[in-house]
Symmetry: C2
DNA sequence: TCCGTGATAGACGGATCGGTCTAAGACCCC
DNA sequence: GGGGTCTTAGACCGATCCGTCTATCACGGA
């Protein structure tokens, strides 16, 4: 008992933070646990005390990223009353994210690229994140009073995914703004 | 001299084909050259006779994929006279691709996920492919007579990227159709 | 037939992979 | 201060990583 707040808890957090950064920079297979441990200044047994395997660490990293993403997203759209404003605020939130110098693309997209098997725990974490994100878009789309809110949500979701991908791969700074402009057109056409 | 058409040429092609399949299924770092060689039934020296390194093999794989993609794409849009039809034919081509049981997402997106450094040869091959694809979209968009063809092209490009990603990650069969519907709306709004 | 050239098989190299184990350390309550 | 518990450093494990080397093999020309 009484493990939270002690060194153990700190070590766990530090492992996740360090692994998050390294995975984001170099990829999951490319980063070995030895590198994570030496970067974090921790010993192997510390890692294997908190996680049964590297795979579990990866899932924990994705869960932390997911939690942070949901909080940021919720804060970004909280102030907006109607569905249309919420949808457009989502694009603003994504644009702010892509403008961050630390932006290196979606960690979930990268994870999906390296772990393609449907039943893999890492892939499941990715799908969970994507399903939540689509749900957010769908809820806001429904609030616009669009004739077919699921259609509108699906279209805007694709724009978001494409914009994040393009911003990450090509470094295109205008991608998200273009996506938002397209979103406005689609929202207008959907009412 | 006189190497083409001999065993050497066949070995090279077989290496590329085998590597393409394995990289597509499992990722680039996850697949070692030993696995490629044992799958292809070839020896190490054969690989290192044709390629200086694994990295060179990866680039060759991407180049082959790029060449095949361009040919398929060109054939898909060749028959269509006007820009709008060409643009919509692109979505049809992508949908046909995603419906193929062998579809496992864009190999270029996966490569970008694993090789993020700008100056890396693999990343350069990815950027080359993306630049070409965007150029195709832009050319067709210009032929529609849209007021701002670059804006239209950028929007449709994001839809394509998002649709391919969504189809790959979530297995969503409707993604490309949704993207095409959105594209029709955007094209109509751009004239 | 014999020779020379170039491709091949597979052993081998050091490095690193994910993961385990042991021995010592740090800390707790009494 | 002593005894028990939890955490840690780092040696160690077999497997695999990418790449090299050597010894053999197949084949074309004279």
């Amino acid at each position: 008992m009484a493990q939270r707040g002690t060194k153990r808890g700190n070590a766990r957090l530090q492992l996740i933070d360090t692994a998050l950064d390294l995975f984001d920079r170099h990829g999951f297979h490319a980063v070995g646990i030895d590198k994570i441990l030496s970067t974090a200044g921790l010993a192997k047994m510390t890692l294997y005390h908190h996680f049964a395997s590297k795979e579990e660490l990866i899932v924990a990293v994705l869960e932390k990223r997911d939690t942070a993403f949901r909080a940021d997203f919720a804060a970004a759209i909280a102030d907006d009353a109607d569905g249309r404003a919420k949808l457009l605020a989502m694009f603003d939130a994504i644009e702010a994210w892509t403008r961050d110098p630390a932006f290196r693309g979606s960690l979930f997209d990268k994870a999906a690229a390296e772990y393609g098997e449907k039943e893999h725990p890492v892939k499941k974490a990715v799908l969970s994140h994507k399903a939540w994100l689509f749900g957010e878009v769908r809820r806001a789309a429904a609030a616009t009073g669009a004739a077919d809110p699921v259609k509108l949500a699906a279209e805007l979701f694709l724009l978001m995914e494409g914009a994040v991908l393009a911003a990450a791969v090509t470094g295109d700074r205008t991608a998200v703004r273009r996506a938002k402009a397209a979103a406005e057109t689609l929202i207008a056409a959907a009412s």
